[in-house]
């Protein structure tokens, strides 16, 4: 259950940020989309909305919230499960509630507010999706949102970070069917996060050449992964000479997207927006460089040999 940010702006009178710190990580999320705007159905803006923040510690976002629920670290999944039971009036033991680090009153109040909302939204951040439980936490929250629709309108959406990572997700889905963690080594896309996801591939040493664009794994990945990147030929496209470029066999400087390279980027709610660059770069765009590398590869003899056009059953 998700929606575009314009829907939130126009309708959401109950907003929950879960495991995120928008005040510092997505500063304009409050003012442009979620909390402050006066809109069609919420003419008084902030006054017409209630904001609840669920996080493990007090961040700068607490100041903007009406209610702050400090969940015990690593207990998000438990809290969501308790809430799922409570909205359906299922029995919950005190021990189960105590485990979440919150009181019965706090939770009852939260449930009452959720049910009283006309249009509720959960925004969940890395604090939920990247801590213990990982995607299970996100799935549980999505289920809670789905189940809330028995009472009122409710949606949930991730607070995607980092530039155009949403665009990559969307494009891989329409071209390959899968959002990330893909292998083409049998000539068609296969998906297996944990096997084909980059950190796992690098830690196992399962690649013999890495092409890196718009990312700096040299600064963000665990040490064994970086060690493997140093061993194999690495090609980096980046507007700057980065940690990763320093260990690369080939570095190509490109124009930064949106500053001096034109194109499209997807917003976190999967709406594509055109970029309007302000500067002329002395460097080529990523698009041009990747296309030229691809065309150079295409000119070399096809390594695949004879294959059927289609498999009715995948192997």
């Amino acid at each position: 259950m998700t929606c575009t940010l314009g829907e939130v702006k126009n309708r959401a009178d109950f907003i929950v940020y879960w495991g995120g710190n928008p005040a510092e990580c997505h500063p304009r999320h409050f003012t442009k989309y979620a909390l402050m705007p006066k809109s069609q159905f919420l003419p008084r803006g902030r006054k017409d909305r209630t904001m609840v923040l669920v996080d493990i510690r007090e961040t700068k976002s607490v100041k903007a919230s009406d209610v702050f629920l400090q969940v015990r670290p690593g207990k998000d999944f438990e809290l969501i499960t308790v809430l799922r039971a409570m909205i359906k009036d299922q029995p919950i033991s005190e021990a189960q509630i105590a485990e979440t680090g919150l009181s019965v009153e706090q939770l009852q109040d939260f449930v009452a507010r959720m049910k009283a909302a006309r249009f509720g939204v959960f925004f969940f951040g890395m604090g939920l999706s990247m801590t213990r439980g990982k995607h299970m936490n996100s799935a549980a929250l999505l289920t809670l949102a789905a189940e809330m629709n028995a009472f009122t309108k409710f949606v949930a959406m991730p607070m995607r970070g980092h530039g155009n990572v949403t665009g990559a997700d969307v494009i891989m889905r329409w071209q390959t069917g899968y959002p990330f963690g893909i292998s083409f080594n049998r000539g068609y896309p296969r998906y297996n996060p944990g096997e084909f996801s980059t950190v796992d591939v690098l830690v196992r040493g399962d690649t013999d050449c890495a092409f890196i664009i718009g990312a700096d794994p040299g600064a963000t990945m665990p040490k064994p992964a970086i060690e493997h990147l140093k061993r194999v030929p690495t090609i980096v496209l980046d507007p700057h000479v980065t940690h990763t470029s320093k260990m690369a066999r080939v570095h190509i400087t490109t124009a930064p997207a949106g500053i001096s390279a034109p194109g499209t980027a997807y917003r976190m709610d999967e709406i594509p927006l055109p970029l309007r660059p302000a500067l002329e770069s002395p460097y080529p765009s990523d698009e041009e460089v990747v296309r030229r590398i691809k065309e150079t590869i295409l000119k070399k003899p096809d390594w695949m040999g004879e294959r059927p056009q289609m498999l009715t059953t995948q192997v």
């Binding site: 259950m1 829907e7 309108k153 329409w174 009715t312």
Partner: protein, 467 residues
């Protein structure tokens, strides 16, 4: 757009020079109902994309032993954009068990299944002899996304319809009686979304869904409005589209999809639209009689009778085939009901100003009475509508079944014995709920042309050669 790594358009291209402008196809068996050619073995000559009496030079294709027939046009399908892409994300398990296309020097890889990837979509449609597909639901806000995906569907021609019937600005204008401004707004939306026409989904109902509600009655005002009713929205849009002279009429998905008793809603809608052109989408889903799920029967005969008498309308069947699929529709309230009925995954995607979209994986089973009746109704509609030029074969891909299963429907239409065989699997309670057993029409490839009943909008035979 930039050229994609796909099969080149070949001789169709307008840029071709010299001998490449010519094409000769020899020895094929030609079916062309529009020109009265019924299974003749003959040669065809093409110059600049048009048939001519003879050409000299150019490429020759030997089509001996092959059938040549007019291109297929899928008038109502969901192959590109936010909703089908959401469905792809929701069904990785299906991608794993489905057919896989392997890349070559000229082809990209892809996966088929319930929600095929864009490249596979092009290959699968082309393989069935289709050349034109119409993505039937595009919210104006994410139209650029739809067009990006469309650019990655190779071989076939693509068009799309912009969603209008729940646009709040539009509803406000209609409520205020500002008809001329509403008309200009429709024109702007068609331009902005780069659409071929206008789609109206559950008029007023999706707007109400944004508050978790639905619009069930045609004559009652929509949630949040005083005078605007689903009926008045549909009628105004039909009039606007006629006055603007858009080539495709209003593409209407009626209210109350799939609900028992909705046939009365549908008939009432058809009456509202008298005097205008209209296309009624996936009619099967709007042909339910009875008062509840148990008493549910289908009223294809009643609808077909009305439809036959009203040449202002076209329709597509929205046929259902048994098996797994994923349902996606801008009809959010219906999808929430389906989620509650099936308890399966549910995705919902609301886009400001216009649309909501629900996504629920689903299976149609012959043992399920409602599914069985739906299956029969889709076929009944295709068989009972006399004028085959006004009814399109569709499954509302991927809702009723995936588009690559169209040949199964064609077999069902052409062969009464095969239909009987399939009907034997249906539950016994189905008696008196359907009329399919009484229909023994067999659509031969030429009779009214139902085999290729997709309208031949450009009356030219394309190079589709199907074995």
């Amino acid at each position: 757009m930039r050229p994609r790594g796909c099969v080149p358009r070949g001789w169709q291209s307008e840029n071709l020079k010299g001998p490449d402008r010519m094409l000769r196809i020899t020895g094929g068996t030609v079916y062309d109902p529009a020109n009265g050619i019924n299974g003749e073995v003959r040669d065809l000559d093409v110059e600049d994309g048009k048939f001519v009496s003879s050409v000299t030079g150019g490429r020759t294709i030997d089509a001996t032993g092959l059938v040549i027939f007019p291109e297929g046009v899928d008038v109502h399908t969901h192959v590109a954009g936010g909703s089908i892409n959401f469905a792809r994300a929701m069904t990785p398990e299906d991608h794993r068990r489905t057919q896989a296309f392997i890349r070559s020097q000229t082809r990209r890889s892809g996966l088929g299944g319930m929600a095929p990837t864009t490249f596979a979509t092009g290959y699968l449609y082309a393989g069935m002899g289709f050349t034109t597909v119409n993505e039937a639901a595009v919210p104006v806000l994410s139209a650029p996304h739809t067009h990006e995906e469309i650019a990655d569907i190779p071989i076939v021609d693509k068009s799309c319809l912009v969603l209008m019937a729940n646009n709040e600005i539009m509803l406000d204008l209609l409520e205020a009686g500002e008809y001329e401004r509403a008309k200009r707004m429709v024109a702007w939306h068609v331009w902005a979304a780069k659409a071929y026409g206008v789609k109206a989904v559950n008029p007023g109902g999706v707007a109400a869904w944004k508050w978790g509600k639905d619009a069930k009655q045609r004559s009652e005002p929509v949630e949040g409005y005083k005078n605007t009713t689903p009926g008045s929205i549909a009628a105004s849009l039909a009039k606007i589209i006629d006055e603007l002279g858009l080539p495709h009429p209003i593409h209407l998905h009626c209210n109350n999809l799939g609900a028992p008793g909705n046939v009365s809603t549908t008939l009432e809608t058809m009456k509202h639209l008298e005097g205008h052109r209209a296309h009624l989408a996936h009619l099967q889903y709007h042909a339910c009689g009875g008062d509840d799920w148990h008493a549910m029967k289908f009223e294809a005969a009643q609808l077909a009778e009305y439809f036959n008498a009203h040449p202002n309308m076209t329709t597509d069947a929205g046929a259902v085939l048994f098996g797994d699929t994923v349902t996606i529709t801008a009809d959010g309230p219906w999808q929430h009901l389906l989620y509650k009925l099936t308890g399966r995954k549910w995705g919902n995607l609301d886009v400001e100003n216009e649309t909501g979209c629900g996504i629920v994986p689903s299976s149609y089973r012959p043992s399920n009475l409602v599914n069985a009746v739906q299956w029969a109704t889709g076929l009944e509609l295709l068989l009972l509508i006399d004028d085959a030029w006004r009814v399109f074969l569709s499954t509302d891909h991927p809702n009723g079944a995936c588009f690559w299963r169209y040949p199964e429907i064609i077999q069902l239409l052409m062969c009464a014995d095969y239909r009987k065989e399939c009907m034997a699997q249906l539950p016994p309670e189905i008696k008196n709920r359907i009329t399919l057993p009484e229909i023994d029409r067999e659509c031969m490839s030429f009779e009214n042309c139902p085999v290729e009943m997709e309208r031949i909008e450009r009356a030219e035979i394309q190079q589709c050669i199907a074995a």
